[in-house]
């Protein structure tokens, strides 16, 4: 079984480029060039150098001793939270800003939900001196004021998305509309492993540095490159795609994808796409998405803004359908509890997204000598208000 994208841009039956003709020239230009550009040694060199000196890679693979003792298994945390800007998002924005420069684009647009991808995009635009416009749902702008301020300090223009439910889905629509209206000079930095081909593949490859590092780091710790499990939370699925990438075809590595159940999978307030979603088209690709019987895209819910998306990337849809990955759903309450537990046991305040991945140890029992690598995709600073309100701190 092949879990990578095929030459037509599909993962099994998922993927493709379901875009209006107005976007075709831009997406086609990217499709024709992205592999060539990424394979260019000078691109590789610049990308690696920035990941090292600017992002602070490699991120540590940390053996979480007290957490491991509590759950009687060997838990390693891949510390993407220690990256510059506080999450894995910057791996992708560094790659895409270099891509945009090589394609001769000088105007950058992005969508953001919680603001992490927006901040990571504003950061690399400041670094490269490029104009940056970030679309963000009006409701999210109110919820995530510190990140809005960060983006502004970094020189970005934050444009409120006023359509639909005024959250991430609508911010993505607005960014796509901007791209339609600016077909020549603009590159759209999509923040997750979604969108029309080649975006899911390109974002996955930029994020694949995560599993590339896990391989040699685990070898140093455990004398073997392959853990028994790799675990990551999934909204659109970019940190998960990067965490799985080099293990997709390693049969001895089990893959666990953790979705946000919100108030409960059957509560009507959830973002567990693998359970609640059906095959359909969202933001330019065929994948699993939450929708009405009539094909209208519905509003997801999660306490974590980064997982509050009604679809999953097409690669993940394929991993789900083929059974390659085990999908688990974690509620708001379970995630918050596990987030606080990591603070107390390991002295690490995780992003609420990452807390979902940590919560699986309450649901699933591992063997004492199992090696379980969990992607700690981001740090919890951005979530302080949510933590404060939730725990009455």
């Amino acid at each position: 079984m092949n879990y990578n994208v095929n030459e037509k841009g599909y993962y099994g039956e998922f993927g493709g480029a379901y875009i209006p003709e107005m976007l075709y020239p831009n997406v086609e230009e990217l499709r024709q060039n992205y592999l060539k550009v990424m394979a260019d040694p000078s691109f590789q060199k610049e990308f690696d150098q920035l990941l090292k000196d600017y992002v602070g890679r490699p991120s540590p693979l940390y053996f979480a001793k007290r957490l491991s003792e509590k759950y009687n298994t060997k838990i390693y945390l891949k510390r993407e939270d220690l990256n510059h800007t506080g999450a894995h998002k910057i791996n992708n924005t560094i790659g895409q800003i270099l891509m945009a420069k090589r394609l001769g684009k000088h105007r950058i647009i992005a969508e953001t939900g919680a603001g992490q991808h927006g901040v990571a995009t504003a950061t690399v635009c400041a670094l490269m001196g490029l104009e940056c416009i970030v679309y963000m749902g009006e409701i999210d702008i109110k919820r995530q004021a510190p990140n809005v301020a960060r983006m502004k300090m970094l020189g970005a223009t934050v444009v409120p998305a006023l359509s639909g439910s005024r959250t991430l889905k609508d911010a993505t629509n607005e960014a796509i509309r901007d791209w339609i209206n600016n077909p020549v000079d603009t590159h759209y930095i999509i923040g997750s492993a979604i969108g029309p081909h080649p975006y899911p593949d390109m974002v996955t490859k930029f994020q694949s540095v995560i599993s590339e590092e896990i391989k040699w780091q685990l070898k140093e710790h455990e004398g073997r490159e392959n853990p028994d499990y790799v675990v990551a939370c999934i909204g659109g699925g970019s940190n998960a795609a990067g965490t799985y990438y080099h293990y997709l075809h390693e049969d001895d590595v089990n893959i666990i994808a953790v979705e946000a159940a919100g108030l409960g999978v059957d509560s009507g307030e959830s973002a567990a796409t693998s359970v609640l979603g059906k095959e359909g088209i969202i933001h330019g690709c065929k994948t699993l998405l939450m929708q009405t019987n009539d094909g209208q895209i519905t509003e997801p819910y999660s306490i974590s803004a980064g997982l509050d998306y009604p679809g999953v990337g097409p690669m993940h849809a394929h991993l789900c359908k083929t059974g390659r990955a085990e999908f688990m759903a974690i509620t708001d309450d379970e995630a918050m509890k596990s987030g606080l537990e990591l603070c107390k046991l390991e002295g690490i305040i995780p992003a609420i997204e990452s807390s979902h991945a940590l919560a699986i140890f309450e649901q699933k029992t591992f063997k004492p000598d199992d090696v379980v690598v969990v992607s700690l995709s981001g740090r919890g600073d951005k979530d302080l208000n949510t933590y404060i309100n939730y725990f009455n701190l």
Binding site: P20, G164, N181, P183, D294
Partner: protein
């Protein structure tokens, strides 16, 4: 012969109007269609509303959102259109995004269109190659014409390809934009219209995006077989109601 092909043979410039089904009120669909025909419109695009209309600007986004709130669904629309051919003769095209059609089932959708007397479909986010590989045979089997878009950025080679798999008309988007974003035409547009005109394509072209009044309609149809008005009509209905459609159409034609 399909009504679209018949209409395209008439020796006149065609006026096509887009409206969102179920807007402003859920039951306006049929009366809008009848009014448009009565007032001399040549062809109608019935918009099947979608929650996330990527290629549309604020006007059609808002009308779609309202139509969905009003309870419009694919099934409701088909119910309203049943029997429409007893009172309406001009070509009817359904314009909608792919996901609702995909969920309904592409073949079931096409079959229903044929039963009702729909002549064609415009699905902006159904890629040309996917249509060609998977759906063309189904569309043709049910006598439906699929209309493709081209833009000023579409290469000549791709336009030739689109022309080769089209069998009605080509929807010539006047400028790179979402619907309703720009009004009027500059030199760039006229050059583009001329360029396409000189390609001597098999399918006639109908211009859409940027047409809102008599002046822009006349400009667009100088180079093309016809023109489509969408956002401007929806905006007009929003402000003036469905009772004064005649005034809008008269204004375009004279």
């Amino acid at each position: 012969m399909n009504r679209i092909n018949q209409k395209l043979q008439e020796d006149k410039k065609l006026l096509s109007i887009y409206f969102t089904a179920g807007y402003p009120n859920i039951n306006d669909t049929v009366s809008i269609i009848q009014d448009l025909e009565k007032n001399g419109v040549d062809m109608i695009e019935i918009g099947l509303p979608f929650s996330d209309p990527l290629a549309d600007g604020p006007t059609i986004q808002a009308s779609s959102t309202q139509a969905l709130k009003n309870g419009m669904t694919t099934e409701v629309l088909f119910g309203q259109l049943k029997g429409i051919r007893q009172s309406v003769d001009i070509p009817l095209i359904i314009m909608g995004y792919f996901n609702p059609i995909f969920q309904y089932g592409v073949e079931t959708f096409c079959k229903k269109c044929q039963e009702i007397g729909i002549d064609g479909l415009i699905i902006p986010d159904l890629p040309v190659d996917v249509y060609h590989e998977k759906y063309q045979a189904i569309f043709e089997n049910y006598g439906l014409i699929n209309v493709f878009l081209i833009t000023p950025q579409t290469s000549d080679e791709r336009i030739r390809y689109i022309d080769s798999i089209s069998n009605g008309f080509i929807y010539m988007v006047s400028s790179a934009s979402t619907t309703g974003a720009k009004v009027g035409f500059g030199d760039q547009q006229t050059q583009y219209f001329e360029r396409i005109g000189n390609m001597n394509l098999n399918n006639p072209q109908i211009v859409g995006f940027g047409i809102s009044n008599n002046q822009t309609f006349t400009q667009a149809t100088q180079y093309a077989k016809g023109a489509i008005i969408g956002s401007a009509f929806v905006k007009y209905v929003t402000n003036e109601g469905v009772g004064s459609i005649k005034k809008f159409i008269t204004g375009i034609k004279n």
